[in-house]
């Protein structure tokens, strides 16, 4: 399996909750990411979807090494990123880059575009000789569809979509193999969103990139991903290639999530099988025992309280699904 | 909340000890470098050895460490701490207990500071609101320039001019026309024991002038920011009157940074009190410390400033709590 570029094993991240006056005691933890396994192959896009607060961004930060994991391994081409430090880590970082969610806060408002896109070269001077940098920055801007003449402008002089392109250009500067996109289009307008998605797809084709594409917009994820993982409260509860998830979801949460996505087609009004969930997502600091979805699940029984369902293929689900009672249900299409 | 208070109170300990030590050290080095303040009492006349010794005992400078420049006189410090722990804050050069001195001087400074803070809030916030409601307007400029001028002009000039114009000229005129006591008290030149509040108003104004600029500017910026806030729009959309929208919804939020700043300006107030109290002849803490510094009475300086530090810390604690009350998003744990 040489074409696996990234493998995540049993990754957990617990943010400690502390109390105490002089000496801090740990009284609990926010289980933001709680035992996640992923593999990413070369040239592939893995979509990660889930509701707000389910741990998507934390997962992204772990993967690119912005947060130290509580446990688990992140293997980038066989090397464990979580245990690297110093210059080894710096070098490894060149291989895996992040595109952030909010194009308005992810660019330093007091740096020009040239400085922002050129910064990777300043941090890793070995990548490009000084004399070459300006040209490289220009190329990068062109690559993402911006005019190299805009090099001296400030981020606020650009629209959201253009800023996102700047962020992408920055991520591409070091020619990484993997790009983690944390909701790269959530903040963008429809017409712009399409431009960025197309750009990402084009870059993947041209440069052979692998993406981890995080989003809460299931339609965007479907559009761009080869495989999809659905997260709930720090865990992946269902995963598979996109048609498996979208057309044959088996986990009740995945079904509810999909059913809630509005479809821009008034002719389907009232014809789709809509599941309105009750209540809110429980606090990740105090997740329910057993199956984490059981508090909002209409199928929950005794066993769900006691036993945590594993993410495996099982009867009723041809792809891995973490529900004791996994069962197909089409919630996306009209049911007639 | 209880835990928070406990933690904050615990944090006082190192701060207080640190401040105490710094003061002690400064005073000690001061004595070592500038000579024994006990000597100064005798003026040009050279005292005899025993006269000097008697005075040194009163000043508490009879430890030999005061003759070695740079010696921090730790034993003296530890001794002072022990005494303080037992409630003994030492005596001044007239052998009056410092505790008594503080009891005499503190209430009036407290009143002065309270008035000054009220004025600072009242005038500063009003000015800030005037300026903030219409950024860039005439009022905005008036407030900006006038408050800045108050920063630029030393407080003793402000004090002297106020006293001359409002106290001597206007105050005398008032007296001439037989104005009621309260009114003459308001415009009296010096502090009057029979008008313990009114005669402090003018000094409080002078004192407040130091922090007025900051308060007005803070109010202005935060009000302008909040007026643009979505919730102000919501309040308007609910059909509330403009007064209620500004006065209840926008202002309350705008006051949060102003209140926080009060903690800082409290220190300013105490410092400004040195000058203001002198000019208006107010028997307060500022003058006490100034006098003690001038005559080198270490016990008084260290004790009084320590108490000031404590008061300051407490004030800031109260302000933090107030802050949490004003802004429910802040949780004190």
């Amino acid at each position: 399996m040489s074409d696996v570029v990234l493998e995540v094993r049993d990754l957990t991240k617990h943010f400690p909750l502390t109390k105490g006056i002089v000496f801090k005691r740990q009284v609990g933890a926010v289980r933001a990411v709680d035992g996640v396994n992923l593999t990413l192959r070369r040239g592939e896009t893995l979509g990660v979807v889930g509701e707000s607060g389910c741990g998507k961004s934390t997962l992204a930060k772990l993967i690119i090494g912005l947060e130290k994991p509580t446990s688990g391994e992140i293997l980038v081409q066989g090397q464990n990123l979580a245990r690297m430090r110093g210059s080894a880590l710096r070098r490894a970082r060149r291989n895996i880059q992040l595109v952030m969610q909010d194009p308005y806060t992810s660019l330093n408002p007091r740096m020009t575009v040239g400085d922002i896109v050129g910064e990777p070269f300043q941090i890793h001077p070995e990548v490009a000789p000084r004399s070459d940098r300006r040209r490289r920055v220009g190329e990068l801007l062109e690559l993402v569809g911006l005019s190299p003449d805009h090099i001296n402008r400030y981020p606020h002089q650009f629209s959201g979509g253009q800023r996102q392109r700047i962020g992408i250009a920055r991520a591409l500067a070091l020619r990484p193999e993997i790009i983690v996109c944390d909701e790269p289009v959530s903040a963008l307008d429809l017409s712009i969103q399409a431009q960025v998605i197309n750009l990402l797809e084009r870059l993947q084709e041209e440069l052979g990139l692998s993406y981890i594409f995080i989003a809460h917009d299931l339609s965007v994820v479907r559009h761009i991903s080869d495989r999809v993982a659905v997260m709930y409260l720090g865990k992946i509860i269902e995963t598979g290639v996109d048609t498996e998830i979208y057309d044959h979801p088996t986990h009740p949460y995945a079904q509810a999530l999909l059913s809630a996505v509005p479809v821009p087609d008034p002719t389907l009004r009232g014809l789709r099988d809509q599941i309105i969930l009750e209540g809110d997502v429980p606090s990740p600091a105090n997740p329910p025992s057993g199956c984490r979805f059981r508090t909002r699940c209409w199928k929950a029984r005794e066993v769900c309280v006691e036993q945590e369902p594993a993410l495996v293929e099982r009867e009723g689900s041809a792809h891995p699904s973490a529900c004791h009672f996994a069962e197909e249900r089409d919630v996306v299409h009209a049911t007639d | 909340m209880g835990r928070y208070l406990a933690r904050r109170l615990l944090q006082f300990v190192p701060t207080l000890l640190g401040a105490l030590f710094i003061l002690h050290y400064l005073m000690t080095v001061g004595i070592q470098l500038n000579g024994d303040p006990a000597r100064a009492v005798f003026g040009d006349r050279t005292p005899s050895q025993s006269q000097l010794q008697a005075m040194q005992r009163v000043f508490g400078t009879d430890d030999p460490c005061f003759e070695q420049a740079g010696n921090p006189c730790l034993t003296v410090f530890v001794h002072r701490l022990e005494n303080m722990a037992q409630g003994d804050f030492g005596v001044d050069s007239r052998e009056r207990p410092v505790v008594t001195l503080i009891a005499e001087h503190a209430p009036i400074t407290a009143r002065l500071a309270l008035l000054a803070i009220l004025i600072e809030l009242l005038v500063g916030v009003t000015a800030g609101v005037l300026a903030g409601l219409r950024g860039g307007s005439f009022w905005d400029y008036v407030v900006k320039v006038s408050t800045t001028m108050l920063v630029a002009i030393p407080i003793f000039v402000v004090g002297a001019v106020t006293q001359l114009v409002l106290g001597v000229e206007f105050g005398s005129w008032l007296k001439g026309v037989g104005a009621p006591d309260l009114l003459t008290g308001l415009f009296s030149i010096a502090y009057r024991t029979d008008q313990p509040w009114a005669s402090l108003v003018m000094p409080a104004f002078v004192l407040a002038s130091l922090s007025l600029a900051t308060t007005a500017r803070l109010t202005r910026t935060s009000l302008m920011e909040n007026l643009r806030g979505d919730y102000v729009r919501t309040a308007t959309a609910k059909g509330l009157t403009r007064n209620r929208v500004v006065g209840v919804h926008a202002l309350r939020n705008s006051l949060i940074p102003v209140i926080t700043n009060l903690g800082i300006s409290f220190g300013n107030l105490l410092a400004g009190a040195v000058v203001t109290e002198g000019i208006f002849n107010i028997r307060g803490i500022g003058g006490l410390v100034f006098g003690a510094v001038a005559t080198g009475e270490a016990a008084t300086v260290v004790s009084v400033v320590t108490i000031l530090v404590l008061v300051y810390l407490l004030c800031n604690l109260i302000i933090d709590v107030l802050y949490a009350v004003l802004d429910p998003r802040i949780r004190l744990d």
Binding site: M100, G114, H150 | T148, G267, L313
Partner: protein, 302 residues
């Protein structure tokens, strides 16, 4: 397809305008400042006053210490346009020469305070944990000493009171508010996405601090610093007034104001007015320039 060409051309045109501009934040701020009349006026005042401080002989040939005592307290006239002081020294020359002490006190104290405050604030905010605890407690200690009282005690300790000891006193006592402000802005800035982005690129702490966090945390510090600067100039005068600051034969606006104020009602108001006017104008200029600078450093406001 013509319209497309047109829009491309117009894009090019504005792009060319972009090329001419230099790329640094400070250069841009400078360009922006030059367009603000208030900033220009303030800068002119500051330059004038600074030149008085640096090269007083450019402004007057009279020696402010050459004082024919017979001319004591002359009111302004052609020979002495600002009059003379009680010793008969030319008041104009004194006002010019007095700029130096005030400017040094203002600028050097503020710079030191900014430097120390920024370093401490950045360290405390960026590293957090025990570094933060220790530095914050330390700041508390100095913060809790009332400024002027602290300066009094500090200066009464020192043998001689030169401009530099006053600067030292102000710096020692003045840094905590700035440290707090910087710390708060660093805390707010450090979790901004763009800092995270730079970190994920492998940027060093130094780079994060100085390239990303500091410029974005600087604005409130600059504003406070300019107000502090005004406070320092005024405090220098107050210390002289209390008899613990600079003393003659040193010449400073503070001393001149402290000495001149007692003569206001005695028929010599010029002894207060001239130094007070110079001092106020300078402080006002610094504060207004600080405001303008803050706005200029914020590309969003341009």
């Amino acid at each position: 397809m013509t319209e497309q060409v047109e829009s491309v051309i117009s894009a090019d045109r504005s792009a060319q305008a972009g090329i001419e501009r230099s790329a640094s934040l400070w250069a841009d701020a400078w360009r922006d400042l030059r367009r603000r009349p208030v900033a220009i006026a303030s800068a002119v005042v500051i330059v004038l006053v600074s030149s008085m401080a640096a090269f007083p002989w450019l402004w007057t040939r009279t020696d402010p210490r050459d004082c024919p005592i017979q001319l004591s307290k002359a009111t302004p006239s052609a020979a002495h346009i600002f009059g003379t002081n009680e010793l008969g020294c030319d008041y104009y020359a004194m006002t010019i020469y007095g700029a130096r002490a005030s400017i040094i006190v203002a600028l050097v104290s503020t710079s030191l305070v900014l430097l120390v405050g920024a370093l401490v604030g950045m360290a405390a905010g960026f590293y957090g944990g025990w570094v933060d605890s220790v530095l914050s407690r330390l700041a508390d200690i100095f913060f809790a000493l009332p400024f002027l009282l602290g300066a009094l005690v500090f200066l009464s300790m020192l043998r001689s009171h030169s401009v530099w000891t006053i600067v030292l006193a102000f710096a020692v006592l003045g840094w905590p508010p700035l440290a707090r402000i910087v710390r708060a802005s660093v805390l707010a800035t450090k979790n901004m996405d763009y800092v995270q982005a730079a970190r994920s690129l492998g940027a060093s702490d130094r780079r994060l601090l100085f390239r990303h966090i500091l410029p974005n945390a600087a604005a409130p510090a600059i504003v406070v610093a300019t107000i502090l600067l005004g406070t320092y100039v005024a405090s220098e005068a107050t210390l002289s007034y209390l008899g613990i600051g600079l003393q003659p034969p040193e010449i400073s606006w503070g001393i001149m104001i402290a000495q001149g104020q007692s003569y206001v009602t005695s028929g010599y108001p010029h002894l207060l007015l001239f130094p007070a006017a110079f001092l106020s104008a300078t402080v006002l200029a610094f504060i207004l320039l600080g405001d303008a600078l803050r706005d200029a450093l914020d590309p969003k406001l341009r």
